[in-house]
């Protein structure tokens, strides 16, 4: 209704109200205050990146660098030195403290909502998945240390911890709370990355008609479902280490009417359950930074083995550290590695990924490089391509590295 005393609509730049998110059959119920907690935290992240980070940058340029150069008689050498110097600066420390707290508050808020209804969520997931052979779990699967040692992005229990048989708590928390971290930039179903990949493939691989598609580390299927929907004649396989996210993922997919998917619990390092040349397309999305050196090599090798002639592998990731990226940006991007439990983030982003792909058996001249930004419903959600804020490592603007075979 239009109220006579309502002010004219104000220009607005920021995350949408959480109530515009897409819901599905296992999406947790969120009451008024739970929604407002998420709205607050999304705005906190927005505020930190838009209003606080510029002060950190100014501190670096006006205090940290001049003081270092005066004391040492040389420029700061690399991102590690830049970060160590920033750690001595009050602006960086206060921003870091609040950013870490906001991350912890987001996990607490999401876990509250998921845990309070976890029996009901498990029941809904069971009703959607019981007896369905498109969910294949392996309780004997060992969780590797690069996942178990510290909980990625401070998410207690990570993707794999199960609190009771049939549990989906950590899938529900991961799914419904991700809005906070990206401030809505991933869109209605947190699937802006998947839609971006679909658009990229349609634009760049025009005659590509995949029949068998694999996503490794696909969690609840955020990025996989847009692909499965775009190629309805293909069969999409999602593998992940975590049973709760896979169980939740199939229930989510089915309730959204996406049926050409199957969710399999397996390590991307050992996909021997699939014969050589099983897939036309293998995808990972914001996944490589959660691995280890050896796991990355093993997974790249598996992708090479599993691709059919004419197939393609695509990895979507945050940009690599290159000599032309300012040390301040590199140090800020490293924050997640040191302070947000992303232990491989820093080392992964300095790797020569082209060489890693060649080492895995891909031909250098068939490597693919590109860039994508999150694709969202622009009537409701902010568009990463037009968003001028930079929340180092969080923005829905990614690089693509891949290869054809």
């Amino acid at each position: 209704m239009t109220l006579s005393n309502a002010p004219q609509q104000q220009p607005y730049d920021g995350p949408p109200d959480y109530r515009v998110v897409g819901r599905h059959g296992v999406f947790p119920e969120t009451n008024h205050d739970e929604i407002e907690r998420i709205n607050f935290l999304a705005q906190m992240n927005r505020h930190l990146s838009a209003r606080v980070v510029p002060g950190v940058r100014a501190a670096y340029e006006q205090r940290v660098v001049p003081a270092f150069e005066k004391a040492q008689g040389r420029p700061i050498a690399d991102r590690h030195e830049a970060r160590r110097e920033l750690l001595e600066d009050p602006a960086f420390r206060l921003w870091s403290a609040i950013r870490r707290m906001t991350m912890e508050q987001r996990q607490q808020a999401g876990r509250w909502t998921a845990i309070r209804q976890r029996e009901a969520l498990a029941q809904k997931a069971a009703e959607l998945t019981d007896g369905d052979d498109r969910l294949q779990l392996d309780p004997t699967l060992a969780i590797p240390r690069y996942v178990s040692a510290v909980d990625h992005h401070c998410m207690p229990g990570s993707y794999h911890s199960e609190y009771f048989p049939g549990d989906v708590t950590n899938g529900a928390n991961y799914d419904h709370g991700g809005f906070v971290t990206t401030a809505g930039l991933l869109g209605k179903y947190s699937d802006g990355g998947g839609h971006a990949v679909v658009n990229w493939v349609r634009r760049n691989l025009k005659d590509f008609a995949p029949k068998a598609i694999l996503e490794i580390g696909g969690t609840v299927g955020h990025s996989s479902l847009p692909i499965a929907q775009a190629w309805p004649d293909a069969e999409m396989t999602i593998v992940d280490l975590g049973a709760p996210v896979l169980r939740y993922g199939l229930a989510r997919a089915k309730s959204l009417g996406v049926d050409n998917v199957r969710f399999i619990q397996a390590s991307g390092e050992d996909l021997s359950r699939f014969p050589d040349a099983s897939f036309d397309w293998i995808q990972t999305t914001m996944f490589l930074h959660e691995l280890s050196n050896s796991a990355l090599a093993n997974i790249l090798s598996e992708t090479r083995r599993l691709l059919r002639p004419g197939g393609v592998v695509l990895h979507v990731e945050q940009p690599q550290y290159t000599p032309d990226m300012a040390l301040f940006e590199q140090a800020m991007r490293d924050w997640d590695a040191y302070y947000n439990n992303e232990p491989f983030w820093s080392r992964m982003h300095e790797l020569d990924l082209d060489q890693a792909m060649v080492d895995a058996g891909f031909e250098r001249e068939k490597l693919i490089h590109g860039g994508v930004t999150g694709v969202v419903d622009k009537d409701l959600f902010p568009d990463a391509a037009e968003d001028e804020t930079e929340d180092y490592g969080r923005k829905a603007a990614w690089h693509v590295i891949g290869a054809t075979v």
Partner: protein, 119 residues
């Protein structure tokens, strides 16, 4: 059952040692403050929701709230409520001020030693 679990586990520590960027005590206080700030934001949104619903049902107009003027008695009650509130939350400042004026304030432990020795 689930509510008890949520109270116990929603705030669980993630695996991995926590970094502190400020003095650990200061950062702990700031973390509590930011959680309270979050809950205040939630409460403000809830009041806004109430106002909009009441306005939508014709119970009140939000402009009445903006132009609300308490009668003199109500104004005094509200002023006293603000004074009480401020005194309540600034207790530590009051007690530090009182302590600064004391010449011979002693700690209970000191008195315990004193009267125990004298016993």
């Amino acid at each position: 059952m689930s509510i008890a679990d949520a109270i116990a586990d929603a705030g669980a520590k993630p695996a991995g040692k926590r970094p502190y960027f400020l003095d650990e005590e200061v950062e702990s206080i700031l973390a509590i403050t930011m959680a309270v700030a979050q809950e205040l934001a939630v409460s403000r949104q809830r009041v806004d929701t109430l106002e909009r619903l009441l306005e939508g049902k014709g119970v009140l107009s939000r402009s009445e709230i903006e132009s609300f003027a308490p009668d003199p008695a109500a104004a005094v009650e509200r002023a006293l409520a603000n004074q009480e509130y401020i005194a309540r939350i600034l207790r530590i400042v009051q007690q530090r001020n009182e302590a600064a004026d004391l010449k011979n304030d002693v700690a209970s432990e000191e008195v315990g030693s004193e009267i125990g020795a004298a016993g």
